[in-house]
Amino acid sequence: MEKLIEILKKYNADVDYYTNEHLIDEELLDSFDIISIVADIDNEFDVEITAKDIIPENFNSAEKLYDLIKRLS
């Protein structure tokens, strides 16, 4: 989880990723950030996030994103 938060901080450092559950809904991360985040996750965790996983529910919080990574690994 720490590794993931480190990645997310690169795109918006002002967010508390431990508590925020509306990263997409509140437009704290946009779809262009998501492209880079997915590339970083691919490198860091060796999981393949594909177009089918690109839904707001998977990216709205660090926890949900971490769940996705665990599911895919």
């Binding site: 262009f32 492209i35 880079s36 590339a39 690109i54």
Partner: protein, 530 residues
């Protein structure tokens, strides 16, 4: 059978009666048969293309589901490495299946809609190299709604491929999803998950739905026949002889065209959604007051929404989250470590290019439409690249971005950019678009406005008055909706006298002020040709 015709209203009335008397279990059959009859009446034997699309996506989706199921069984109790290998193998097979679906369906669309465009361009290239070979041009009749049902069909098969939905074993449900009769004309482009079950499930025809749906149909007729078709008279005159006009007349024609295409397209969608509502079916919204947009990006989130969503989901995501692109992302980020904004923009632009190219090409087989798509791509690219400069300027000038004035400026700026886009869209070709754009700034004949030339463009004083009042009504309705005022609900709450006065005024204004073609033939919808 145009959907703004009396014939269509009678057709809907017959389908409603048939739907009511059909037993619950078979109501979907009534809808499917009606849809096929509607299609046959419009396109005769060209229905074969829709049947090919239906069968191909149905069978190939089942095959995709089978591959997934088999994989599930195969990977049980297997080691991680073995699992990975089996998954890769299944993925390759699935890719092949989805590729076949794409080839069949885009192939049909490509040949029927784009053959002459591509062959013409290839011939030009061959001529350039002095090769004496010519691909002959062919005349195809475009089957009704092919650009819409093809996208719907592909979205279904791709969603199955991505495991977002399960393949449907019921061929009837898949067929109805593609053919539903009001929707087939101009969309909105539906998604299987949201639409298929709604269409298939039996609905009781409720009085409330008839009332509310009919009001939406009435509003659609008003937009199309009173506004769009009237504006078209002036627009056609000016754009048909654009070399003879300049300055304010050109500006007026462009503005009128922007409102014409909105009233035409949104009017059609309102008729479609209204008819569906009578059957208890809610279709996706395709417009959300686009002229209140504060940026071009926002405009496209409010204009032809279902096409935009489709392109985002199946073009943008397919490029941006493909393996090669993610690989490129990592490399580019490494190289541009110190320029985060630049690397983010460049990474966004590549998938956006494909989106706007597809958007342009989807609208029609000509360079003009591709140029139209590229126009939006360039505007957005400039906007994204210069974002830091804009931010600095705003800070330097101490502009309050939350102020009403600034928001109005943003809306105005967006509206102007959209109008230029509409000018490209309406012009016969790219060079005439540039000529019109140039002549827009020629005010040497300014006096023409005062000496009555404006009234010689097909609309007399009375017609102008009708069109201006109708436009104001349309914009007021949009404004109220923007303020979350549910116009139809509010009308429904009024007492009988007020309610029926509104209904009668609506009906009679369409009968009296509606534009009727030669021999009272209804005019076609602009987006019907795509």
């Amino acid at each position: 059978m145009e959907i703004n015709s009396l014939k269509f209203i009678l057709f809907v009335a017959v389908v409603i009666i048939a739907y009511i008397i059909t037993p619950k279990k078979y109501k979907w059959v009534t809808l499917l048969l009606s849809s096929y009859i509607f299609y046959w009446l419009n396109s005769n034997q060209l229905i074969i293309f829709m049947l090919i699309t239906t069968l191909s996506i149905y069978l190939l989706s089942l095959l995709l589901g089978k591959i997934d199921k088999r994989l599930e069984l195969e990977i049980k109790d297997k080691e991680k490495e073995e699992k990975k290998k089996l998954k890769e193998k299944a993925k390759t097979k699935k890719k092949l299946v989805v590729l076949i679906a794409l080839i069949i369906n885009l192939g049909i669309l490509g040949v029927i809609k784009y053959f002459n465009f591509f062959s013409g361009n290839i011939n030009t290239l061959l001529n350039l190299f002095n090769l004496n070979i010519q691909i002959p041009s062919m005349q195809f009749i475009l089957p009704l709604g092919i650009s819409y049902y093809t996208l719907q069909g592909l979205s279904y098969v791709i969603d199955v491929y991505r495991q977002k939905i399960d393949p449907d074993k019921n061929l009837g449900r898949v067929a109805l999803f593609l053919a539903f009769f009001p929707q087939i004309v101009e969309g909105p482009i539906g998604r299987y998950k949201e639409l298929a079950t709604k269409l298939y499930e039996p609905h009781k025809i409720e009085f409330q739905n008839i009332k509310s749906g009919s009001l939406l149909v009435l509003w659609g007729f008003f937009q199309k026949m009173v506004i769009a078709d009237r504006l078209a008279i002036l627009v056609d005159t000016v754009f048909g002889n654009y070399t003879q006009y300049s300055g304010l007349i050109i500006i007026c024609a462009i503005l009128f065209y922007t409102f014409q295409i909105y009233a035409d397209f949104a009017g059609c969608i309102n008729i479609v959604r209204g008819v569906a509502e009578i059957f208890g079916i809610t279709l996706a919204e395709n417009f959300k007051r686009p002229f209140f947009s504060k940026s071009v990006q926002e405009f496209w989130r409010r204009w032809n929404i279902t096409l935009g969503t489709w392109l985002k989901e199946y073009v943008f995501y397919s490029v941006a989250f493909s393996k090669w692109y993610l690989h490129l992302t990592t490399k580019l980020k490494e190289k541009l470590k110190k320029h985060a904004h630049l690397s983010k923009t460049i990474l966004a632009l590549c998938p956006l290019f494909f989106v706007w190219f597809s958007n342009g090409l989807w609208h029609g087989a000509s360079w003009k439409y591709i140029f139209y798509g590229m126009y939006y791509f360039v505007i957005m690219s400039i906007g994204m690249l210069l974002e830091p400069v804009f931010k600095k300027t705003i800070n330097f000038l101490k502009i309050n971005i939350n102020s009403k004035k600034y928001k109005i400026w943003q809306m105005l700026r967006t509206f102007i950019l959209v109008n230029i886009g509409m000018l490209i869209f309406r012009a016969t070709n790219i060079s005439s678009a540039f000529t019109i754009l140039k002549s827009m700034f020629n005010f040497s004949n300014f006096g023409e406005i005062l000496n009555g030339k404006m009234l010689s463009l097909g609309l007399d004083k009375g017609e102008f008055t009708i069109v201006i009042i109708s436009l104001i009504i349309m914009l007021i309705v949009d404004f109220l909706q923007e303020k979350n005022y549910h116009v139809r609900e509010e009308i429904g709450k009024r007492n009988v006298l007020i309610r029926w006065t509104i209904y009668y005024v609506g009906i009679f204004s369409i009968i009296i002020f509606g534009i009727y073609g030669k021999d009272y033939n209804p005019s076609s919808f602009i987006y019907g040709q795509f």
